[in-house]
Symmetry: C2
Subunit: 420 residues, 2 copies
């Protein structure tokens, strides 16, 4: 499987520099979004990720999203840089092989329902027997213990329990429409990101020369808690003052003007003019310099109190201009602004292109595909998109023979017995 990174010329050495995590091996017993997103981040920075899937259709996420030539386009990204093997973990022989792979791994990332790996004979104790210093990241909806640990982990439910869905709405009374979903699997992604951070923290403590303790640790990452952790001052404010954070629509509760305003051609344009000098520049640009002198709009506090009339003035102005014209004028006036980018805007953005965030990658199944680049960027050791999401079991031979020393005959037998 070959991959060529074609159009990110500004990241020299991208295919040469292996990334800070090269030499690290991570076993993924994951499916759907959270655990696989975690291992994708690790793999992007160079880790050898071995993803275990059930034989047959593999991870159900392979069927998600829009299809291209019968394959999920998302999978091309979600599965990139991973070695994909199959094991039917309900079979004792498969369990044994999984334990042998764990023995050769630094870390394991899983997002089974709590308790389910125990039933399969892959409890923490069993994994640690195979590899005493294994770092284990367990990602779940609600955590590994507590009265609700067995609740089904649906992202939309977990995001609501984490306190986010209440906030992605317009202020009470402004609409009968429901609060919006963030539009992406934000809970799963943030949980995966926390897991990646936790894995590296635990590995540093285990391995650091002179400071390491040679000990494995377990991470217990809950989707609900990952979201809840992002609520800024909402909890201490509630505890100290009894105030309950309420949704503010397109605005920011504590600063104005900052909102999305509609252009003549129907595009939403964000304008953040929430300081006195910025607002003065905006008022001048709008041809309404008197607004900056109006006591209703002098100082942020006054502007917040009179946000609705202020936003109406700005909307009346934006409605007269096309989005591209607004962007040009606002940039010239040094007022922070942008259209709300669609993915097409992202793909065309000069800054994203310059920084290798939009890349053409050769996918063995799908041909040339666009992939997002690697985050975080490590300019002198960036890692690479070594290959796109592989087919189910694409690396069975390579892994079973290379890591477990199985012969071709043994691998054939495993396949015939439905172990892989």
């Amino acid at each position: 499987m070959t991959t060529t990174t074609i159009d990110s010329p500004t990241r020299p050495g991208d295919t040469a520099a292996a990334g800070p995590l090269s030499g690290l091996r991570v076993l993924e017993l994951g499916h759907f979004v959270a655990a696989p997103f975690c291992t994708r981040l690790l793999g992007d920075l160079g880790a050898d990720v071995i993803k275990v899937e059930p034989p047959g259709a593999g991870d159900p996420v392979r069927q998600w999203g829009a299809r291209h030539q019968g394959h999920s386009a998302w999978w091309s990204v979600h599965g990139r840089n991973k070695r994909c093997i199959t094991l039917d973990l309900k079979k004792p022989r498969a369990k044994e092989l999984a334990l042998r792979l764990a023995a050769q791994s630094d870390a394991l990332v899983e997002n089974f329902r709590p308790g389910q790996l125990d039933k399969l004979g892959l409890s923490e104790a069993a994994l640690r027997e195979a590899r005493p210093d294994l770092v284990i990241a367990r990602v779940s909806g609600y955590g590994q213990d507590g009265p609700q640990r067995d609740r089904a982990a649906f992202g939309v439910i977990g995001e609501a329990v984490g306190g986010l869905r209440h906030l992605t709405n317009h202020p009470p009374g402004n609409t009968d429409l429901p609060p919006v979903r963030v539009g992406i699997s934000i809970g799963d992604s943030v949980a995966g990101l926390y897991a990646a951070f936790g894995v590296m923290a635990a590995l540093w403590r285990r391995d650091a020369a002179g400071r390491g303790d040679q000990r494995g640790r377990t991470l217990d990452v809950a989707l609900t808690e990952s979201i809840f952790s992002l609520l800024e001052g909402a909890l201490p404010e509630y505890g100290a003052l009894g105030t309950v954070r309420q949704p503010a629509g397109g605005a920011i509760a504590t600063a104005a003007p900052s909102n999305a305003y509609r252009s003549r051609d129907g595009v939403w344009v964000l304008i953040a003019a929430n300081s006195d000098p910025l607002f003065r520049r905006l008022a001048d640009l709008m041809g309404r310099p008197e607004l900056a002198g109006d006591p209703r709009y002098q100082g942020n506090q006054a502007r917040v109190a009179n946000r609705d009339t202020l936003d109406a003035h700005i909307n009346a102005w934006t409605a007269q201009h096309e989005a591209a014209e607004l962007e040009r004028m606002l940039e010239a006036a040094d007022v922070p602004a942008t259209r709300a980018y669609t993915v097409a805007d992202c793909a065309a953005d000069a800054q994203f292109r310059h920084r290798g965030m939009v890349r053409e990658v050769e996918d063995a199944q799908l041909g040339r595909m666009l992939h997002p680049g690697i985050v975080p960027q490590v300019p002198d050791d960036p890692g690479a998109i070594r290959w796109a999401g592989p087919s189910v079991g694409a690396h069975n031979e390579e892994v079973f023979s290379g890591l477990l020393n199985l012969s071709a005959d043994e691998i054939t037998a495993l396949r015939q017995e439905g172990v892989c």
Copy 2:
């Protein structure tokens, strides 16, 4: 400054186990949200974080959000576990002290505008001269290079450039209201999280016994790219098929029914019944078993195509019941559901309480405060909330004398000269 963790009895050893990052020192040259959030995550897991602020009012974020006894409640959380010192980095003597602190640190996290630290004499070269193997995490709006690196880094603008704001909206034609902000500083937080992951990845590569290269690395984390990286399959789908991901309001574009529905008492209740068995159970519970047999609602594809009429049926049912009753009935029927939690609901949640995610902490300035717990959870080495956000310069003496061996007289002189 003493801190007592009062109400998380289920995490034994919480104040005893120091966390996987104890022994690690991180210098923060940060302000506002992204870099300070990164170091808070590192400090929660045990790192010694030294935060440098300008003398006087310190980090402007100390004034953000609701006040309690004249202090920001958010700061109690945002500044916790940090040693706060002051340095006027425009003064040569302050720069020299900052370099001496960098020399004693494993990592540095900063979110100045690109180029600004260079002007202050704290370029990467100067920092690496002080500490050759320093890991440096630079967080910015658009990245350290490229045509737009100098653009002002407003979160709402960066989130829109990352492609998120286009998606937090209702489908075109459903409303004239603008797309909502996520309601929290999602771009800054996710960038901070990526920086924390990157710092640990770089430290592992530097320090790992046998595998480390003793080399410092620089991370270049952009807010825009951090958001863009979460867009699932949007980019490959656009590249391969030309489809531009569009907002879906409270729903999921590819699954139904999944939405927020209003209860009789006006509460939004999430229901995720987007599989055949779940939908059958929901239809039974609604007293409308015929819906599950209706060809318009048989199979997910049909339900997605007829989402609007299906949601209307569900809304008609939820409007007859109070939220608490709906939650009870849906749980009994094993249909994933929840009210959209406010922060008050989060604070009262039995699972969050059980898992130490809602804690009472003694804040030296504010008294007893509610803090969110530590994410990711490391059950046998959890780290601790050692103290709440300190006052400006609270640790000047301790750090200047303990780490830099300055005498009391020298520290007094620094203060008189406005260096600290």
